[in-house]
Point group: none
Chain length 401, copies 2
């Protein structure tokens, strides 16, 4: 059963405030077996105090053993079953660069490639052309004109770009044109269903005109298209939870994910301190606040244990800016683990604290991986966290009489 | 969602080695409340060391409170949801005696019974006729000839046998002929669907000819048929996990279960020491090794607490033969509990250890029921263990971007 069927039915409005602070990639691993993780190493008096007065647990982002990307990781925290709701690659890529997808859009991830004299791919990534060289190409590709369709082209890093086709009757079931090998030409765009035939034609026309515009390029004289995807159909926070929700994030990806579930993007903060200022300023205008802190993930991805520890301490030091607002429910969690040891996202449960009047405090007194999973929430799937938040905010009525 | 949809999509090949050591019926109970279980009583320095460096948990074979047979118990450990995949009684019985079922087979569990002068059942188990007397009857029944169908008859213990019909167009939806009471004749085989009509006819012909062959028997002059079942359609380890898998087992049932998921049966070991020799010899040829140790279950079934303790110590003493091979992921678990106290399988979570580089070691330092459920894996459904194994072997890619 979709949990939203329950929350829709049971949701109740009140004046409570819920804050969900997501420290991206928060969970970690010790560098040596039996050692301490980044979070366990960090000096975190404020978070420890929250662990002491709150209830702790280990959040399993998707299912045991499954390592999520940012999309499924956040959908889970937002209470959207990440196995039920999937965001296509093109849509996620567009979201990641801050492109606001509309209902008539199909977003596609593009790669520049190098074609030889026979039109066969000699380099699938155009020699990993640097961003300075590839960005102007996206601007050039905006010259493509297709009747009845708006075409948007946006640069991404190195050989990557995003193209969005906006128009009527554009299905998104079109196969990738990237043949995944060299020595052959890119595939022609091919529709998998009738509703996507027009999209395949539009994509073919785009490829043709783009080929003309790029033909004099040395490296990036061709392109491939992958992950055709419409805006995913996600119900909004207002509809499923009755929450007016604000997202206070720095990076476009997380703003985009929040927008997909109907949150409003608030403020233009560039630092965590500024994010907390925005939180305070907008306190009266929303029921739910999603705050996203990126650097716990970024330092983990870099494999920089000490830097991740420092970023956690930085977060800890600023926590009084949240607690002074006395949210009805305060959650501190992460969308997945990013252990410095692995330099990548991982499947491990994410330490999580929930603080609220009736949270049933446990014996946990510090914030850390090992402590958290022995807390009152035990290990739970991330998708249930929003239900616990609503319950603790007294925003869920009784199920059945 | 079927977890195999995920593993199929995310699976990655590498050179890692996964060993899953299944001590059958490993979990137990103390003889007195507050006492120690068999495993907690046993002296297990090697397993304790694995608990110390690994992560522990309690594996729930199917769902809380559900006691599994060997079939569902192993399917769960192999990552096949035991509520989704069911092995029919006939197929499991055939598998248990080492009969290799093919795609055109319908396997049926047979019971000899005693019929009175009116053809009514007077004893449903033919006086529990001893195996020495019943085994020759199976050989006699092989004289049954049915046009277009191959008939295999194999003895099982006491009044039991297996019959397999092999031919085209044999569905397996045929009702049991055992009326479950005496004083009435066996039912005629009856098809539940059109595709099984021929099977019911074949079964009726078998019953008729068998009746002739058995008519002079004193006790076993009749038979009933139960659990008509085709070979279950299980996807293979290679297909769902990308693993080339070996099974190193002594008993036919476990070889049979392994074969059903596409494992190769390796070696002809008759003892645990020989099983470990086979493991070492075949180390380079497979990605995954299933080792099955039977005697923890058998001693539990006997209600022999001390013998089960000894068998656990025997297993412990041989563990260095596994650890010296340095598997990427080493799992020690059981398919269910078999407490000596109950003399039967039970529903209790099975103590489980997983050892791997990034397993996130917990505070558990000994191998035992109480310690295990407080470990880093908490209590989990057995069907997720393979996903954790794959994740720890770095054989699962990221889900979503």
């Amino acid at each position: 059963m979709d949990m939203h069927e329950l929350t829709r039915e049971l949701k109740v409005k009140n004046d409570s405030k819920i804050v969900m602070l997501v420290a991206d990639g928060l969970g970690g691993l010790p560098l040596e077996p039996g050692g301490k993780t980044e979070l366990e190493t960090a000096r975190t008096p404020n978070l420890d105090e929250l662990a002491r007065i709150g209830v702790s647990g280990g959040s399993i982002p998707v299912k045991p053993g499954i390592t999520p990307g940012s999309g499924p990781g956040h959908l889970g925290l937002f209470g959207y079953d990440p196995l039920q709701y999937r965001i296509g690659r093109g849509a996620l890529e567009a979201t990641g660069i801050g492109f606001e997808l509309g209902p008539k859009d199909v977003a596609v991830r593009g790669n520049y490639c190098t074609l030889d004299a026979n039109g066969n791919i000699s380099d699938r990534r155009a020699g990993r052309i640097p961003s300075e060289e590839s960005a102007p190409l996206a601007v050039k590709l905006r010259e493509v004109k297709i009747p009845g369709v708006e075409v948007f082209v946006e640069p991404v890093k190195e050989h990557r770009f995003v193209v969005v086709f906006r128009g009527e009757g554009l299905g998104d079931k079109v196969l990738d044109t990237d043949p995944q090998e060299t020595g052959v030409p890119p595939h022609a765009p091919k529709a998998e269903d009738e509703a996507s035939r027009r999209t395949a034609e539009v994509a073919a026309e785009f490829v043709k005109q783009a080929g003309e515009l790029l033909k004099d390029q040395k490296k990036a004289n061709g392109l491939t298209l992958r992950g055709f995807a419409a805006r995913p159909a996600l119900p909004t926070f207002e509809e499923v939870y009755g929450l007016k929700a604000a997202a206070i994030a720095v990076y476009p990806m997380y703003k985009g994910l929040a927008r997909l579930v109907g949150m409003e993007i608030v403020g233009k903060a560039q630092t965590l301190a500024e994010q907390f200022e925005v939180l305070e300023k907008s306190w009266n205008d929303y029921d739910f606040f999603f705050l996203h802190f990126k650097y716990t993930d970024a330092t983990g991805e870099d494999g920089n244990f000490d830097a991740k520890v420092k970023r956690i301490e930085e977060l800890d030091a600023l926590m009084p800016h949240v607690t002074k607002l006395k949210p009805t429910v305060l959650i501190v969690t992460g969308d997945h683990s990013t252990p410095s040891l692995l330099k990548s996202h991982s499947w491990h449960p994410v330490p999580t604290i929930l603080v609220a009047k009736a949270c049933r405090t446990d014996r946990v007194t510090t914030f850390g991986e090992d402590e958290a999973i022995h807390g009152g929430l035990g290990q739970f799937e991330a998708k249930y966290l929003m239900m616990l938040a609503l319950a603790n905010a007294e925003r869920l009525g009784k199920y059945g009489a």
